[in-house]
């Protein structure tokens, strides 16, 4: 079945687990790069379905972020709430200095798992919408 949402992530775990089932736009990169990719989608008319700062783990701690978007109809159909929210998220993310440029694998794996869990908490709502 075709859904009208897509998932943008830099978390490979999300891609591995859900890439076959849903449209998962996975690209490795930093937390901030992911937010910028999301912003580009928003500028092209996509609407945010989940909060880009989901979770209480700070943007300078977790390297992973997954965001749900409703596909847009092009830049002439901007969702201004989404524009504002993603901008605020980027401002918030930027004020934290990245703490762990190099992170032990076991901690990376834990962050990936938490991000997956946050992402999964929105899945029922997204698929029912």
């Amino acid at each position: 079945m075709a859904y009208n949402f897509k998932i943008m992530t830099n978390n490979e775990l999300v891609f591995e687990k859900y890439g076959n089932e849903y449209e998962v736009d996975y690209k490795p990169g930093t937390y901030e790069e992911l937010l910028l990719r999301v912003r580009t989608e928003v500028h092209n008319g996509a609407k945010l379905l989940t909060h880009p700062l989901s979770g209480s783990i700070k943007p300078n701690e977790t390297p992973f972020k997954t965001v749900y978007l409703k596909k847009g109809k092009g830049p002439l159909h901007l969702d201004f709430d989404s524009v504002e929210m993603i901008e605020n998220a980027i401002i918030t993310a930027k004020k934290f200095k990245i703490r762990f440029p190099v992170m032990p694998d076991y901690i990376r794996a834990d962050f990936a798992l938490i991000d997956l869990s946050l992402m999964e908490s929105a899945l029922p709502a997204a698929t029912q919408a």
Binding site: L48, L49, T50, H51, P52, L53, S54, G55, S56, I57, K58, P59, E61, Y68, M85, N88, A89, I91, T92, K95, F96, K97, R99, F100, P101, P104, Y106, I107, A109, D110, F111, L113, I114, S117, L118, M119, E120, S121, A122, A125, A126, A129
Partner: protein, 426 residues
């Protein structure tokens, strides 16, 4: 609905060969605790320690803090739907081991967080430097997944607190305080001239390590609803939230919710504490819209004049907070909101991730990015090597000499958004 809280003042905790409460001292036989927790086959080892105010002790990473309570009269038991049966609580009489707390620690994921220092600079910022703490450190069996591990430790803490609370069942309290919530009609009749105020509590509800439970139900799967403040005192709300230690609400905070306490203090004098609404903080934006719509609708339906809204956690809950404030104001109910700030180390950054001019009455728990210096402690309970990887710490924050340079957000409960502390910012 009427509840009496009987406070048994605990001045010390002693490890002993018999568990009991006597002359204000809580004696704990560690074997009792170890056997109790090891009923769960997911837990491999348990260590029991005591940390007292003023001692050179650091506890980290802190998962939860819980106050021992026991239901001595009235229906239900503490932590209904989780430890106790799902029966409704909030009536009758409950005994509290006041001044004592159970602190759980243990590595669930690699970056676990939360520090309680019992003395020194850090002690100023956490309320749990002032409680007698029974610290329970649990290690899981190999290969236990984080979801199960979190649950195992959550239950270890709750069971320990219930076990200790039970020791106070037949002890005569030093002080008894009574709390009563009238129904809407009675309240209006009794206090016709006082403004009616509701409390809207936002609960963290986003996924693994970000959850809160209400009568055992995961809050992310709830709609905003009405709860009795006295139910909360009996453990109807408990924490499964292990992140953002400075502004998460531990179970201790829920049991001792200061907004409830201070609204009760003003009740019948300057206002009529008309009721309490709980609403969640989900990841999904439509959920946020729905939950805040419902919170505002319930305020409107209760016909209150004002609502105090408290937040939990960092980042996206700012959006829930602002939605709540905006919508509640829009239905003609005046709001005061309680939050904390992430204004950067220099205090110059935008404090909140969202804002609205209608949110014109804000109480803040302070800037969580403020840098603090913690001295070395003689004894560390838990896992100090995780300090570098807990929120607010940063690379190199744990110095060779055992001192720590970190942001305030490293400290458990430091910028609490229920307004538990005196810390603020301007």
């Amino acid at each position: 609905m009427k509840l009496e809280l009987g406070y048994i003042k605990i001045s010390d905790i002693q490890l002993s060969n018999e568990s009991k409460v006597e002359n204000g001292v809580l004696y704990v036989n560690p074997e009792d605790i170890i056997n109790l927790i090891k009923e769960d086959e997911n837990i491999a080892t348990v260590a029991v320690d005591v940390a007292r105010p003023g001692e050179s002790v650091r506890i980290t990473p802190v998962k939860d803090v819980i106050e021992p309570r026991v239901k001595v009269e009235g229906p239900g038991s503490i932590f209904p739907g989780v430890i106790g049966k799902v029966n409704r609580v909030g009536e009758g009489r409950t005994h509290v081991l006041k001044g004592a707390a159970v602190v759980t620690t243990g590595r669930i994921v690699g970056f676990q967080e939360g520090i309680i220092d019992m003395s020194g600079e850090g002690a100023k910022y956490t309320p749990f430097s002032q409680t007698m703490n029974l610290v329970v450190t649990c290690e899981p069996v190999d290969g236990l997944r984080p979801h199960e591990h979190e649950k195992a430790i959550r239950f270890a803490g709750l069971k320990t607190a219930v076990f200790l609370g039970e020791l106070g069942r037949n002890v005569e309290p030093d002080e008894v305080e009574t709390f009563e919530t009238l129904n809407v009609k009675e309240g209006i009749e009794k206090y016709p001239n006082l403004p009616r105020v509701a409390y809207v509590q936002m609960l963290q509800s986003q996924g693994l390590m970000h959850d809160t439970y209400v009568y055992g139900v995961d809050a992310k799967r709830t709609l905003s609803t009405i709860i009795m403040p006295t139910e909360v005192m009996d453990g109807a709300i408990l924490s499964g939230n292990c992140v953002s230690s400075c502004d998460k609400n531990t179970t201790y905070h829920h049991l001792n919710n200061p907004v409830i306490a201070d609204l009760f203090k003003a009740h019948g004098k300057t206002l009529n504490f008309a009721g309490m609404i709980i609403t969640n903080e989900n990841v999904y934006l439509a959920d946020k819209e729905r939950s805040s719509d419902w919170a505002a609708k319930l305020c409107q339906y209760l016909g209150v004049d004002g609502a105090i809204v408290s937040q939990e956690g960092f980042g996206n809950p700012d959006t829930d907070l602002i939605m709540n404030a905006k919508k509640i104001e829009t239905v003609g109910v005046k709001t005061v909101i309680i939050t904390d700030e992430y204004a950067g180390r220099d205090g110059k950054s935008q404090s909140l991730a969202d804002a609205d001019p209608l949110a014109n009455a804000v109480v803040t728990g302070g800037n969580a990015n403020m840098v603090i210096h913690l001295p070395k402690m003689d004894k560390v309970i838990g896992h100090i090597n995780f300090v570098d990887t807990i929120a607010g710490g940063f690379d190199g924050s744990l110095h060779e000499d055992g001192t720590i340079e970190a942001e305030l957000q490293i400290i458990t409960g430091a910028t609490n958004e229920l307004g538990f502390n005196k810390l603020s910012a301007r």
